[in-house]
Subunit: 109 residues, 2 copies
């Protein structure tokens, strides 16, 4: 006696995402799953800004902001450009806006 429908399981199994894609997907969502990083992306959608400006805007230390920018940068979501003493950050991927808007639609209902 077995309450499991093996047919269903076997039909769905090949439709599951492969491991690589799966981890890319969850890594992307993990990246967005932090309020500081969302704020950074949100702000940079308005204007490129340097670390000090972002720190002032979010009321955080430059160190904390810099750490998170590094994370976003290594995920290729933002890019950095040094000008004089400052390092200016800007969005490098305009997919970000779309995904944020989709999530907003989901959350606001």
């Amino acid at each position: 006696m077995d309450n499991i429908d093996l047919e269903t399981v076997n039909r769905v199994k090949p439709k599951m995402p492969d491991t690589t894609l799966l981890y890319e997907l969850s890594d992307f969502f993990k990246l967005m799953g932090d309020s500081t990083r969302i704020q950074l992306l949100w702000a940079l959608e308005e204007n490129e800004m340097c670390v000090g400006e972002l720190a002032l805007l979010l009321n955080m230390t430059k160190s904390a902001v810099s750490h998170q920018l590094k994370t976003l940068r290594s995920a290729k979501l933002v890019k950095a450009q040094k000008r004089g003493k400052n390092v200016f950050y800007a969005l490098s991927d305009h997919h970000v806006r779309t995904v944020l808007e989709m999530a907003l639609e989901h959350v606001c209902e």
Copy 2:
């Protein structure tokens, strides 16, 4: 002497999301930021399934699956229905599919 452009900061500040929305957004992304939960949602997009079937499909213990289903359920992303000895889970929000597809598009490039 101050290298910060206060005008930019003051212009962007009012455009930032308020605290509540911010946390709703990041909580939603946190929810998607786990490969097990993505697999569960992905599978349930194909068919409602009971805990045992999902555990078999993902090659995990029923306990682990149950814990994650509880998380998804309290976020209203899935709903449960008891039938006999089994508890069948199904998607309760078809926004999920859209968001997953958007993220897929982002990741696959």
